[in-house]
């Protein structure tokens, strides 16, 4: 018990150091290794004619910052969903949120080919709201639809449908090459402009998540408990869904679909920090960022010198974990 109190504090305290180290590692190692001295020079005395400096500032730095942010967003949305629905399999990629976002971005590319990045982010947000609405709506209609297994099946089936339709449209209107950039979840072309644009949305999402975290703890104990404590559960649920949609929408707009981060990390965070979502949510965020940035470094080297989409790495780590969850938790509710 004592450990569970101190562990989250330790993790959050160590996080900045870990993140700085990861950023450094991510900048130094890649298809072209760069010396630490160069990195220092690029920051204090940027020279536009120096190729290394260009790589650092326009490619490696946005990439690592992007991957940390995306990992954080996905993990926090996963934690919110799992707490709110008391469903151990709830997570952005399983719930059709990401596919909805891909679907809307495809629509946007088809009908507004010269759209600004701003519009992509917006359509990504609308799409993830759409995906969530369809999956939750159907889950509500189907008998026992909110149970972990049913919800996961629904989410992945709706996801197949949305991404299949998106694929059909992109083939029909011949924009599939543009779309494959979003699909393949590659972090190596991170657009700094997109990161800047996504920050306000993400800030709202993260703030919301932290503000409602103590109510999520109550919800995770059960609807009756929460109501007994005088919490208007539908308000909290609506806010949690809003935060999820914002965070997932932004991350898909930045890098496409990245599976399993939102599923695994909250479980690890819960294991490390107990049952209180005031700790689980920030710990998830920190671990998610570190996890994705680390996966991104792995993705650069498992098929060196070629890049592997980071989604492959997260899936290869995520699937065994997912199977383990099914095996240990079974198909039933968490109780």
């Amino acid at each position: 018990m004592q450990l569970k109190r101190t562990l989250p504090v330790v993790i959050l305290g160590m996080a900045p150091a870990a993140i700085v180290l990861l950023i450094l590692a991510s900048i130094l190692y890649g298809a072209k290794n760069i010396t630490a001295v160069e990195v220092w020079n690029a920051i204090v005395a940027f020279d536009p004619d120096n190729v290394d400096h260009q790589i650092i500032i326009s490619s490696r730095l946005p990439r690592v910052v992007g991957s940390i942010l995306i990992g954080t967003f996905l993990a926090v949305s996963g934690a919110l969903m799992q707490g709110m629905t008391r469903n151990y399999l709830a997570s952005p990629s399983i719930m059709g949120v990401s596919d909805g976002s891909v679907f809307a971005v495809t629509l946007c590319m088809v009908f507004l080919p010269n759209a600004s990045p701003n519009l992509y982010i917006t359509s990504s947000l609308i799409g993830s709201a759409l995906g969530t609405a369809i999956v939750f709506g159907l889950a509500w209609l189907i008998p026992n639809g909110l149970s972990p297994v049913k919800l996961a099946i629904l989410g992945s089936i709706i996801g197949t449908f949305l991404s299949g339709t998106a694929h059909a449209m992109s083939t029909y209107f011949q924009v599939s090459q543009n779309i494959s950039f979003w699909y393949n979840a590659r972090l190596h072309q991170m657009d700094p402009e997109l990161i800047r644009l996504s920050i306000p949305f993400a800030l709202i999402g993260l703030t919301l998540a932290l503000l409602i975290s103590r109510y999520i703890s109550a919800l995770s104990l059960g609807e009756e408990v929460a109501q007994g404590l005088g919490i208007r559960t539908w308000v909290i649920k609506a806010l949690a869904i809003l935060a999820t949609v914002l965070l997932t929408g932004v991350s898909v707009a930045l890098a496409g679909k990245i599976a399993f981060v939102g599923l695994i990390i909250p479980h690890i965070a819960r294991f490390l920090s107990g049952v209180d979502y005031r700790w689980i949510i920030p710990v998830s965020g920190v671990l998610g960022g570190i996890f994705l940035a680390a996966c991104d470094i792995v993705a650069r080297f498992i098929n060196y010198p070629f890049e592997t989409p980071v989604g492959v790495v997260t899936s290869l780590i995520g699937v065994p974990f997912f199977l383990y969850l099914i095996k240990t938790r079974g198909g039933a509710h968490r109780e």
Partner: protein, 339 residues
């Protein structure tokens, strides 16, 4: 009573064959290269053939149609077996990850033997389904291992594990395909989406030996009816449950993997065809299985026709066409199931 259902069965079969022939006919006469109906017939019958007509009909359109028909039949049959054995109306080789396992093995084959055995040469073409079957078996074993609890298969969990296994194999497949040289990669990508685009006569010949499994299945199909009984009743009628299960599963994995080897992963056929078949001809597997195969055949033929004409000059793979149609049907099935 039984003669009425009997007559219904034969009517359904006859109408089904007519629709399949009509779909094949549409596919044969329509396409980017315009040919009149008369031209097609003349070419088929060999009356004053023109070389370009011969090329289009015999090298492009006909093998594609024949392959589509065979694959559709195999998938429909396999689907009804898997649903029968697992007593799970939501089971489908694609959803269960068997397609993904076979796909991984086939991509691995393309990768390992690139240059040594050309994938389109005879040896490669005949070996590919063998690899596919190994992959399909691997996937099935993994699914069984994780979905089984206290000796029994939980239907919902089966699907969930299938989804996980499919995405794991999918990630591995993507990883391997990225290591391939660009030519093989192109081929792998087109093929992975479940496409008949590369159909040729060699693929058709590859499929043929695996169709020998069909008589095996048909001869034992009445035993599938017994699977629907409770476990105690199964034992009391003297059914070797585990052995029969394994034979059925092996046969269907064989059919699915051979299909995946020639046309990639086409999901949802194995899910939808058995349901339609059950609605058409009732609950006897001796009737469900052929009808389900026929429905699968029709679905693939029409799906491929839509994919290649609606999106012309681009092509949409039949796998994607079928999954866009298949998902709403799946949701409808979920809405109907209780509990």
């Amino acid at each position: 009573m039984s003669s009425v259902t009997e007559r219904r069965f034969w009517t359904v079969l006859a109408v089904g064959i007519l629709i399949a022939v009509a779909a094949a006919y549409l596919s044969l006469t329509n396409g980017t290269f315009d040919m009149s109906v008369l031209d097609v017939f003349k070419t088929l019958l060999g009356i004053n053939p023109r070389p370009e007509h011969n090329l289009v009909v015999f090298e492009f359109r006909l093998p594609r149609i024949v392959l589509g028909a065979l694959v559709g039949f195999a998938l429909g049959t396999a689907g009804s077996i898997i649903q029968g054995v697992t007593r799970n109306g939501l089971a489908d080789p694609g959803i269960l990850g068997i397609n993904a396992g076979a796909g991984l093995a086939v991509v691995l084959f393309m990768f390992l033997f690139q240059g040594v055995i050309t994938a389109t040469g005879w040896l490669g073409v005949m070996l590919m389904p063998m690899f596919g079957i190994a992959g399909g078996l691997l996937a099935t074993t993994a699914i069984y291992m994780f979905a089984k609890e206290k000796g029994r298969l939980d239907p919902q969990r089966l699907i969930l594990v299938g989804i996980a296994v499919a995405s794991g194999f999918g990630a591995l497949t993507m990883y391997i395909s990225l290591k391939m040289n660009p030519n093989d990669y192109e081929m792998a990508v087109v093929w992975l989406a479940g496409s008949l685009h590369n159909a040729n006569w060699k693929f058709v010949v590859t499929m043929l030996p695996w169709l020998l499994l069909l008589p095996v299945i048909c001869l034992r199909s009445h035993k599938l009816d017994l699977f629907q009984l409770s476990e105690d009743s199964q034992k009391s009628v003297g059914l070797h449950v585990e052995r029969e299960k394994n034979i059925f599963l092996l046969c269907s994995i064989g059919l699915v993997s051979a299909s995946v080897a020639v046309s990639g992963s086409i999901a949802f056929i194995g899910l939808i065809a058995p349901h339609l078949a059950r609605q058409l001809v009732g609950l006897r597997h001796t009737r469900i299985i052929p009808v389900s195969g026929l429905v699968g055949m029709i679905m693939v033929l029409i799906g491929d026709f839509i994919g290649k004409t609606v999106f012309a000059p681009a092509e949409l793979s039949v796998g994607i066409v079928v999954s866009i149609i298949g998902v709403p049907y799946f949701v409808y099935l979920l809405l109907r199931t209780r509990g």
